[in-house]
Subunit: 118 residues, 2 copies
């Protein structure tokens, strides 16, 4: 599963665009965050991305779980969000990408920041 | 729809217990938060509540949307989370309430704090 890392400095609109791009390619996207600020940006992005896919009849839902991760040798608890259609219908054709998205990989790089900066 | 208000000081375990109680009664629960700290507690609570209902085959999902609210005459943007079974199956019999929950109303009162304290 494609994983986006979102930090407290990530722009929710950019993250939503990257989510839409990954959803179009894979039908599912996972976001991992450490800390309240990063989670806030990620959840805002999900709310925005819902709008990108709603026109295609897709009902984007989000499933949060805990994840134990290691950052610089220290154990931390991250939140992992799995984002997909409620009924796991194919999403590819129904995702309206925002105008500014040309290269999804470039956008993914924008939001895939080092989790230690969260 | 039953709405829980969660603040940055809410205990995620207590909120998860209240969610489980409302899910058992109504099959759906809505949480409203203002601010990153409150959202963090609410999402942790959803992750915990997933465990309470998983044994009954319920797959709890969360749908975040923006909500314009007014606090003391000022307009603020809240995040609203709708939490329910992925397939909207009846939940009542399958929710395992944590041992400490005797009175759901009392628990709801615990988490239904004034949103101005978020």
């Amino acid at each position: 599963m494609e994983q986006l890392k979102v930090s407290t400095k990530s722009n929710p609109n950019s993250v939503a665009g990257a989510m839409a791009g990954v959803l179009r390619q894979h039908g599912i996207v996972e976001v991992q965050v450490v800390g309240a600020g990063a989670l806030n940006q990620a959840i805002k992005a999900v709310a925005i991305a819902r709008g990108y896919v709603a026109a295609g009849g897709i009902d984007l839902v989000c499933v949060p779980t805990f994840a134990d991760i290691e950052i610089d040798g220290e154990r931390r608890t991250a939140i992992r969000l799995v984002i997909e259609d409620r009924l796991r219908r194919p999403i590819d054709a129904s995702v309206v990408l925002p105008d500014e998205i040309i290269d999804v990989d470039a956008l993914e790089a924008l939001v895939a920041v080092d989790p230690t900066t969260n």
